[in-house]
């Protein structure tokens, strides 16, 4: 049978290509790229750190890279790992990156550590899962990576054995990651863009290499790799929307003033724009609030120049005022009934917030999202983080409020404060718990 033979041939070719590709992928998996690239000016720490040692610089860089977010369990020992990442195909746990020799990275050489960051492989050359953002860290300078290592090695060691990952087949086959790497990992060090101001380049280094903003904010393709053409255009992960932060005026942050952007990054709140919560509040709490004003300014400069994308929620304020207060004589719906009971003490029935600006709802994208993605998360789980000595806090309502109630409340919030038609049903809320 001709067709049969042709088909057989095709399969054979595919198998052969696959074998060759696999061999190639495995061969290059531990290759870290150019390890002799000179440290660009955009890398390193701000001039404030000029006379500080490697440990202090490393601390600053580790914060800018937000290592702690993934490597520290809330309330647990710093960098001892164990944080769970629930993925569609199972759960993986972050490793201990303290200098403990048995369970941490105490016996890793400088080269081991650099290779991990640049190539995404462990000391033994085994591929790490790309929940570890080596696709971003690969752009870091060797000096910066070693400063981070110096900092980590300056801290108390913690004996904390790794928790075994719980992944289904074929995701539990680590070698398959090498295939993914061969396709999606570009082991390139950061290259400043000629002709751009230094602040822009510094911002780019902070945003793309250290801060790895794109890991959350850049849409991913079918293979879960960041789609470079849509950088920072917004993505949904772990039940939260990381919003479009391109310079698009409608859908991104193009309308935000420099001050608003800087406030949001450094304090987690910009008046009339929004308050960080969920994963973004962790980024502010663990990382961004520690950046120097020059670095915050550099990030702002960079974000201003990000190619506009029109994905996501339109930010055009269709005047919350026209939404107005609840009509005085209408019978209250369930959502309003709940809001004026449990929520308006802080948010006020006009959504302006009172005791703290952080409680303002009007103008935020969270209330303009008809799916109320982030609003539902915040209502279910609350929000709690630390800005300096200040505790930013909202209680959680998930335990005592039904799916029906949370759906109605969320729809009320987006309609009342965002002028949107909420689309939530109780069963959708159930799925987001």
């Amino acid at each position: 049978m001709k067709i049969g033979r042709a088909l057989g041939l095709l399969v054979g070719i595919i198998v052969l290509v696959a074998i060759l590709f696999s061999a190639y992928a495995l061969l290059i998996v531990s290759h870290p790229g150019d390890e002799h690239a000179a440290q660009p000016q955009s890398a390193g720490t701000p001039s404030d750190f000029a006379d500080k040692g490697a440990v202090a610089r490393g601390e600053y860089l580790a914060r800018a890279a937000d290592c702690v977010a993934c490597h520290t369990v809330p309330g647990g020992a710093a960098f001892a790992g164990g944080v769970a990442f629930k993925l569609p195909f199972g759960t993986i746990y972050s490793p201990n990156i303290t200098a403990d020799k048995d369970t941490g990275i105490g016996d890793w050489s400088d080269d081991d550590f650099v290779r991990a960051m640049h190539a995404g492989v462990d000391k033994d050359g085994r591929p790490l899962y790309p929940a570890f953002p080596y696709t971003s860290y690969t752009a870091l300078s060797r000096d910066d990576i070693l400063a981070i290592k110096a900092y980590l090695f300056s801290l108390p060691t913690v004996h904390s054995p790794a928790r075994a990952n719980d992944l289904s087949f074929p995701y539990n086959q680590r070698w398959t990651v090498s295939l993914w790497n061969a396709l999606f990992l570009n082991k390139q060090r950061f290259q400043p863009e000629e002709g751009k101001p230094e602040a822009w380049n510094r911002g780019a280094y902070l945003a793309t290499a250290l801060g790895h903003c794109g890991e959350c904010h850049t849409p991913r393709n079918a293979a879960f790799a960041m789609n470079a053409n849509e950088a920072l255009a917004g993505e949904e992960q772990q039940g939260w929307k990381a919003y479009n932060i391109t310079s698009d005026k409608e859908h991104g942050v193009g309308q935000w003033s420099d001050q608003e952007l800087a406030d949001y990054l450094s304090k987690g709140h910009a008046a009339g724009r929004g308050t960080a919560s969920g994963p973004m509040s962790e980024v502010v709490a663990n990382s961004l609030q520690y950046l120097t004003p020059s670095d915050v300014s550099a990030l702002v400069t960079y974000l201003r120049g990000v190619k506009p994308q029109s994905n996501g929620i339109a930010a055009s304020p269709n005047a919350p005022s026209e939404v107005g207060l609840a009509s005085a004589n209408a019978k209250a719906g369930l959502g309003e009934q709940l809001f004026v009971g449990a929520c308006s003490g802080c948010h006020l029935d006009n959504g302006q917030g009172r005791e703290t600006d952080y409680a303002a709802l009007t103008g935020t994208r969270a209330v303009r999202d008809p799916h109320a993605t982030n609003a539902v998360q915040i209502i279910l789980h609350g929000s709690q983080w630390q800005l300096g000595n200040r505790r930013i806090y909202m209680p959680s309502f998930g335990n005592a409020y039904s799916d029906v109630e949370i759906a109605a409340l969320s729809n009320y919030v987006v309609s009342h404060f965002g002028g949107q038609q909420g689309t939530l049903s109780a069963s959708e809320v159930a799925n987001r718990r």
């Binding site: 207060l325 005085a328 449990a342 003490g345 802080c346 029935d349 209680p395």
Partner: protein
């Protein structure tokens, strides 16, 4: 030092900026009519007015009240509306244990200042953030209406 204006009197208090107004009032200034119930703006027992608007003083940093007129239950009777509300409260005997009532009265007074003749829906919006475990809600609603209209719809207590 924070400079606070409470019920028309100025106080200079030595308190951290983030200390909630509630505790400055109760533990430093000594005005204990404002109550602690939950500490997270879920119950309204701590309601006071800042420039006439009700706030939950348990989550309001005292520093945020600097430069504003703070009115507490101890001072609300000096306002015309506050006095009317207190009289209506006694007229139909709203209070039971009374612990939440100072906050209820502050919320009710702020409502009437904004809406002199509130509808049931207005009362729902303004008052549902104030919890009462004794369950005086039916009378709270009636007392607000009585304070608003001056007309008694329920039997009045004999003083």
């Amino acid at each position: 030092m924070l400079s606070l204006l409470v019920n028309g009197q100025s106080y200079s208090v030595d308190a951290p900026d983030d200390m909630p107004l509630l505790w400055v009032l109760r533990d430093i200034i000594g005005l204990t009519g404002t109550k602690f119930g939950c500490g997270m703006a879920q119950c309204g027992a701590c309601t006071v007015h800042l420039d006439g608007q009700s706030v939950r003083s348990c989550v309001m940093p005292a520093s945020g009240a600097v430069g504003k007129k703070i009115t507490t239950i101890e001072g609300i009777g000096a306002t015309e509306i506050g006095k009317r509300v207190q009289q209506a409260w006694l007229g139909i005997e709203v209070a039971q244990c009374g612990y939440c009532q100072t906050g209820q009265i502050m919320s009710a007074t702020a409502l009437l200042a904004q809406k002199p003749t509130p509808s049931d829906a207005d009362i729902d919006i303004a008052m549902s953030g104030n919890l009462c475990r004794c369950g005086t809600y039916v009378r709270i609603r009636a007392a607000i209406k009585q304070a608003a209209t001056g007309q008694a719809t329920l039997p009045q207590t004999i003083a």
